[in-house]
Symmetry: C2
Subunit: 334 residues, 2 copies
């Protein structure tokens, strides 16, 4: 080999692909087992002590740390575990792994059955909703909140509604931005309304936050919608599609919220610009999962002209880095 060759990325080997899949499961497991927390606060941990303290099988625990060590997330010296060069990045991305291996584990392991047309009827796939919710809460905190809150803090609003409010966490935080702020959560899932109602009560905000069940893609006018001046909608914009329906839904939203001043619509979009061998973290899994589930993900280019057509002006596009090409559109009524 020539001494003048520049150092460059070695080609991926099939062995790496194989072992990395195990490391991916180990990252998700390590989060749930508390290993990331333990190693973040302490220079090193003893795998045997850790297993005993957490009530874990010792041999399995050693094997899990080996799988982390295989990708330089930790290093091992006997039972002594230390942070490796990839620790900080794996710690930051652990929720993405959790989404993939724990949340979508069954979806990805049974792909051949799920992609067969004849099987794609009814509820043909299963995911672990609890794991996905845990993962999404952390994904939100790590990558979406730092884009959302600076924009929100620059807006004047006294009444906010959140479309697809889920567990109600965002609503509660929005209500806390000011003692006069009223908030309304809308979700299609009865389970979400139930969880959010309990969370709101626990936060002592039942007097300022109300919750209604409703389909964001087919909203009917309601008296509660009057006065809402800020609307937020996170991680579900693609549910408005296909295109003609997205135009209709966004137009309807403009109509049923007569006093709206701002609409912050944030979602992942389908990537188009990355080479196959240089895909950013998360996006490939996210797009494969949505294709398998039969959900259409519009691209950024597909989104843009829709707003104008539906009676909105896009005042700003705030990029979100994970999944790649996610964006928060700041819309105002036209």
């Amino acid at each position: 080999m020539s001494g003048t060759a520049m150092a460059q990325a070695a080609p991926t080997t099939v062995t790496e692909v194989f072992n990395h899949a195990i490391t991916a499961s180990a990252i998700s497991a390590a989060w749930e087992m508390g290993a990331f927390d333990a190693l973040r606060v302490s220079e090193r941990l003893d795998a045997d002590e850790f297993a005993a303290r957490e009530g874990l099988d010792t041999r399995s625990t050693h094997e899990l740390f080996r799988a982390l060590a295989a990708a330089d997330i930790v290093s091992r010296d006997g039972a002594q575990i230390r942070r490796g060069p990839n620790f900080a990045e794996a710690d930051r991305c652990k929720s993405l792994f959790h989404w993939m291996t724990r949340g979508c584990g069954e979806l990805f392991s049974t792909l051949p059955a799920l992609v067969r047309e004849k099987n794609r009827v009814g509820s043909f796939y299963r995911r672990d909703a609890a794991a996905i919710s845990v993962a999404c809460r952390e994904i939100n905190a790590e990558w979406w909140d730092p884009v959302f809150w600076p924009v929100v803090s620059g807006l004047d609003f006294t009444s906010v509604a959140d479309l697809g409010c889920g567990s109600g966490e965002r609503l509660i935080r929005l209500a806390r931005t000011g003692p006069e702020v009223m908030a309304l959560g809308i979700d299609f899932a009865a389970g979400a309304i139930e969880v959010a109602t309990a969370a709101v009560a626990e936060a002592g905000l039942s007097d300022r936050i109300s919750l209604v069940q409703g389909d964001a893609t087919a909203l009917e006018p309601r008296p509660e919608f009057a006065g809402v001046d800020l609307l937020t909608c996170f991680m579900m914009g693609h549910d408005f599609w296909p295109r003609a329906e997205a135009v209709a839904s966004l137009r309807r939203i403009r109509e049923v919220f007569p006093d709206l001043k701002h609409f912050l619509l944030a979602d992942a979009t389908r990537t188009t610009s990355y080479p196959d061998t240089d895909m950013p973290v998360f996006s490939m899994a996210f797009e494969l999962a949505h294709a398998v589930m039969g959900d259409y993900l519009p691209t950024l280019e597909e989104w843009r002209p829709v707003f104008e057509e539906a009676g909105w002006r896009c005042e700003g596009e705030h990029p979100i880095s994970v999944p790649a090409d996610s964006v928060m559109f700041h819309l105002v009524p036209n």
Copy 2:
């Protein structure tokens, strides 16, 4: 960067670990969907045509090929798919991926629950037995047969027994080595005996192959065992352990088969010599899975002295490369 730096392996990134996990599932899926077969015989395939012909969802199929392209297993030009630099190796290793993602998918995605001591009672884990059996048949054909058959062909035998005969495939092939060869299959699982009985009947060998249900780790003498001069036992040697029980089991085998001349015992052993960041394909997953399932895997060094103690002489150790440090011991009664 210095122009004199030698090209060297780039450090693994967390993004690679993430995306490779998706590629791993895609390799397993591509096998089951027939994509490896299609690309092996043809220079290229059209993803849309392939999806239509195989009855697959088109968008999911494109995403699956992208996941293969991410690790250079194929390359894509629009819908045109060609073999990539890693195609041959992925094709050779696809059964290992199938074992991991389809066979042990649930086990790896639910690791945190499975490693908790309080959950490790009863049948605490689930694997896809059918997928594991398909994977193991191919693993056997690719890595184990090339070691097994040259040794068998050098042995004189007229009556062979296979401990842990499973589906009966090895038995049938052993019986076909000569018109005079009698064969006996022993398996603990009633289901295996059923499958093997059907396979033997279909092969027209019911007059020369018989099957009995029995526990290899606690064999009782049987009239059928007299005259057996070759015993084979594949992929279950670790079930004899812990050590004291392995000695007892191997001693009992020597006693209940009074006429044995050769005992070919092949199994994976626990690796001890590979650095964490340079684990060979399969072994790390195999060892993690066995730790989680609570199965002890002896090392090569632990095995060796056991034979002498149990009344056997090890005439040869034939290495098998996958899983790494697998070996076929050629034992003869002492």
